[in-house]
Amino acid sequence: MCSVCGCGEATIALDKDGDKAGAAHTHAHGPHDHPHDHDHPHDHDHPHDHDHPHDHDHEHGHDHDYDHHRHHEDGVADYGKGLAGSHVPGLSQERIVRIERDILSKNDAYASDNRRFLAERGVFALNFVSSPGSGKTCLLVKAINALKERMPVTVIEGDQQTSNDAERIRATGASAVQINTGKGCHLDAHMVGHALETLSPPPGSALFIENVGNLVCPAAFDLGEAHKVVVLSVTEGEDKPLKYPDMFAAADLLLLNKSDLLPHLDFDVDACLANALRVNPRLQTLIVSAKTGEGVAAFVAWIEASAARRAVDMAKG
């Protein structure tokens, strides 16, 4: 376990000629340094009613006795930091600290670092999310092959185990880093930050982050990407957007994959898209088939147009 950042379960496998180097986990916290300034009010207000010093809502009678006792025993108890700034009989030295911090604030701080790093290099990052087996990797391979002449592509692959997907990506000639999350059900921004150090995506490139196959958890974790792209396959049922709304609400583009199978299924494309748009009226949608290549040209055009728009937005600041 890394004692600096506490990351323990995820391992990052290096790419480059199969040189996985036993999941070398470089811990240069270099470009990934962040000062952790958190401005928040430290109100030391406490809700105890002073008219009733013995009326404590919460259970800390024992602690109070202990402190009080210790005070008399060794005479060194420091009450200067207490609520009242002095020892008041019946008033505990326990302090209530208002924090008002988002539980995801740690992840979000790492995500901002990643976003800044990517913006400085002009790298356009997409976070691909879906359930397992929707055809993400196959679709990425198609997109990389269609895109690589015009724009370099690098890939971060997230899976609980194996580097099978990274190997499939590397077969296209693109650099790929595999993150194995172990028990983790999603990639977080900290893992991606380390992977970026290893991958070092070239300026002006596209970065595809293939998240762990899971329609729930990855929705909550910002990785620093420009857009989340949700992949849904037509074998999954048209009510998926209603069953797992968070993911469809968090995404900017929906790729409805495996369209080649539509003639064999009762899947209602219009109903599926209507469900997705109900959850997220701004969602853009494309119907694709990684097998036949249907819609892949449109997807690649979307990537190029979105990357260009983002570059303009970044230049404007």
Partner: protein, 113 residues
């Protein structure tokens, strides 16, 4: 979903604050968890004791305030209760409802010693 990762983040933030305050231990952590946030309070409680064990937050009480879901219905032009994320307005049945409360995932305050 991912309650373990969230709990690790909760304990990490609590310990960081406790260090800043020069506290010996954390005795209570209070959270605001929205009813529409896809987080199970029971799972958080279960994970919390496991994650806090062996740290300055070991044995701390975890208090979870469930924040009810609410939204602003654009058609009714009023605030309405929401029972599910992206659910319909209970008054008009329409879906033009913007969530205004219920997705909170926040550490509100903590008690240290």
């Amino acid at each position: 979903m991912h309650e373990m990762a969230l709990t690790e983040s909760i304990v990490e933030i609590a310990l960081e604050e406790a260090r800043k305050q020069g506290a010996r231990k954390v005795t209570r952590v209070s959270l605001d968890i929205g009813a529409l946030s896809s987080v199970e309070p029971e799972a958080l409680e279960f994970c919390f004791s496991a994650v806090a064990s062996g740290t300055a937050a070991e044995g701390a009480k975890l208090e979870i305030e469930r924040v009810a879901g609410a939204g602003w219905c654009l058609d009714c032009e009023q605030s309405v209760p929401l029972a599910e994320r992206f659910g319909a307005c209970p008054r008009c049945g329409g879906y033009r409802v913007r969530m205004t409360a219920g997705d909170e995932l926040k550490i509100r305050e903590m008690e240290i010693d």
